[in-house]
Symmetry: none
Subunit: 232 residues, 4 copies
DNA sequence: TATGAATGAGTGTTCATTCAT
DNA sequence: AATGAATGAACACTCATTCAT
């Protein structure tokens, strides 16, 4: 680089990293990569939830994630693989949260009500979950099928429910013969359906489905429904 | 035609056949606007149900309808308008079927059970309905909003339910204070959710959700759920 | 037409013709056909003038002409042939009008001014003419080339101009050596350009080119330009 | 790199070459956004000039530009926006060229003649300009309206003309009272019309309008026309 | 690790034209 | 003479994905 005319060249520019407590190159790189991946997944979740798998735009995801589009392909391989990753994470997230409810520590009826409340609130606070599940079912669960982790987490969840029902029967607060799967589906259904179909329901029933009162009323109705279903 | 024939213009006037009573007119396969429209709607319903609004392909619809793509635009204006037409028809269809149940003629509890059965069976036999509704909610009911006919049909439906609950309370078979809308939503939810999410549910619960036994079991469970919910 | 069930049949309906003085079927038909052709040409002129050959829509022409689209093809063969017919008529129309000016009956300078005024006013009252000519030139006069009638009318027109200039020179009011074609082009140009480019000119010169004053000013300017050009 | 290497991010920085002074960097054919844009504009100018806005084909433009069709939409948004860009550039180009004439440095009559010659030659060498302007007027200057840059350049141009006429009057070589806008329009008109309508004119006047002699004759005629118009 | 440029195969839509009556 | 239905080729525009740096 003597007196020669500066030509169209590529320079490596070192920029100091603000992040404290990092030592060495290796770690930094991984952490950056991890952050980028996370931003992409976050953005993808929103986009997929909003527009479905077919309607989602890779460009949009990249922009929202403030990441280069190429990174999406680098980290996830394809749009569909990205969808799968997002979906898997969403399922693991709810299953994890359910485990944390610590239902075993409560009396059966309280535990059940807690689950109903939790389910409702989780859907309410994670509306993307619902839309993602809808999308996945439109695609006949083709992506979920591939995930072994989901299957394991699911078994644990179903087992917990089985245990809860058994305990309730033994303690005489639940009537016998209730199928855990059916109950689970019903608990999900009465919350999920209300929320996912709130737009068409608003027209059919001419109500604001998302008004505070309306939401409270629904939760109460759902708890009532489940309790009447299980009690002796 | 006596006198000088008043100079005149000749028009060809097509007079529609009264649906039945057609004589020697069996052809009209092509060149029948109404039939073509119907074929397009039929094909569109399938395609939209299978792939959603974004995922549906106009080419595919045209092919399936054995119609020219141009006809779709001629009759419906755009892909989205076609979706709207399909959706409106789907809603009117279920509302019409509900009216035909003649619930007023039955004792309240029997009427309610009949409605639960009907709802379940309708979803089962018209799986496109569910997927269309899902799609429409993904689009925040933007198409349904425009339909005045749906709103009218909906009011009639809600009114019927109100009447049924009132009657049940008066006759002492239903407990008072049940909100017709909440009940309606629950009746729909417990069937709809089971069916729309049968693919992911099959993985989570490791069951064949569509086996004959499974379907019968679910219907029984749902009837039980509703009955326990309303009885005094 | 006894008691048999009215079936899907075609009826001939005779509607009285308002038009007086018509006798017999034969005549009526031709006149109707002629009228339809005229309506189509009228509508086509507007459409082609507004959107150019490529931008014009056959559907639009049919609708505007209150004619069936099929008629256009019946009478004119194709969109392009229709354009050609319209163009030819437009040219014949202006040439005919020019012949009617009876310039030979006026002193040369008055005759010339009359031509300048006429040209300006013709463009002003027949804005489609200008746009049609533009379109035709975009297509390198491919349609006009085919018209023998135009060529004949053109010769007559150029001859008239030649005669006028000759006469003016002989009478000592025009200077010699002026080329009739160049003069003709200039007379057309200074009016035509102003009007055809009035939209972009309005922006460049920040004026309302079509205001009454502006039009009068332009005409005066053009007359002045031509007179200064020819006078001795 | 002494001490502990402050953790850092590596960025690739592209430094643009100073147009000239490029060393060993002759490639950059593809992967050069600016060059691609330029190629597209070039190709678009040709296509729009040849077929008008409606008649132009985006595929054709892409092919001619040796660019992918997608790039056109990436850089310009839509066919119409591309048209607008092309048009704006065309106008700025002629306005820039006019400024470079340096008319202020010449005696008024020479300056005016120079302008007439320039205008004629510009149209002759840039035939697309004429057709683009025609197209834009067909569209009622809808695109030009949006361009602020054009308006500014136009004012400068009109001002220059005003100044020239004033100077001519003061120096006693031009008669007073001539409107700069009218003169401008006439200067443009007598060249523009001849060239844009050369195809139909060739038929009407049965001449080869583009023969060398014909062009020279027209230029002389135009100079004469303008000079007679302004001289005292 | 990261990026902006580029691409080919679609995708909804339009249009001139023909068919059948 | 007149019509409404139907068509295929084309068109503007989009999108997931890859290339070159």
């Amino acid at each position: 680089m003597t007196g020669k005319p500066a030509s169209n060249r590529v320079y490596l520019v070192y920029v100091k990293d603000e992040e404290a407590g990092m030592s060495g190159q290796e770690k930094r790189k991984t952490r950056d990569a991890e952050a980028t991946k996370k931003r992409i997944m976050q953005a993808a979740k929103k986009e997929f939830a909003k527009h479905g798998l077919a309607g989602a735009r890779v460009d949009e995801i990249a922009e929202r994630a403030k990441a280069n589009k190429r990174m999406i392909y680098h980290y996830f391989g394809s749009k569909e693989d990205l969808f799968q990753a997002v979906l898997e994470e969403a399922y693991l997230d709810i299953r994890t949260a359910e485990q944390k409810l610590d239902l075993e520590a409560l009396p059966p009826d309280e535990a059940l009500e807690r689950l109903v409340r939790f389910t409702w609130n989780y859907y309410l606070k994670n509306p993307e979950f619902i839309t993602l599940v809808n999308s996945e079912n439109l695609h006949r669960a083709r992506h979920l099928k591939k995930s072994e982790r989901i299957k394991i987490a699911s078994r644990k969840f179903v087992g917990m429910m089985d245990g809860l029902l058994d305990r309730g029967v033994k303690e005489g607060v639940f009537r016998p013969g209730i199928d855990a799967t059916q109950l689970n589906i019903t608990i999900a259904a009465i919350g999920y359906y209300y929320l996912t179909n709130r737009f068409t329901a608003a027209i059919v029933f001419e109500r604001d489905m998302m008004a505070k009162d309306a939401l409270e009323e629904r939760l109460a109705f759902n708890i009532d429904t489940v309790m009447r279903l299980v009690k002796v």
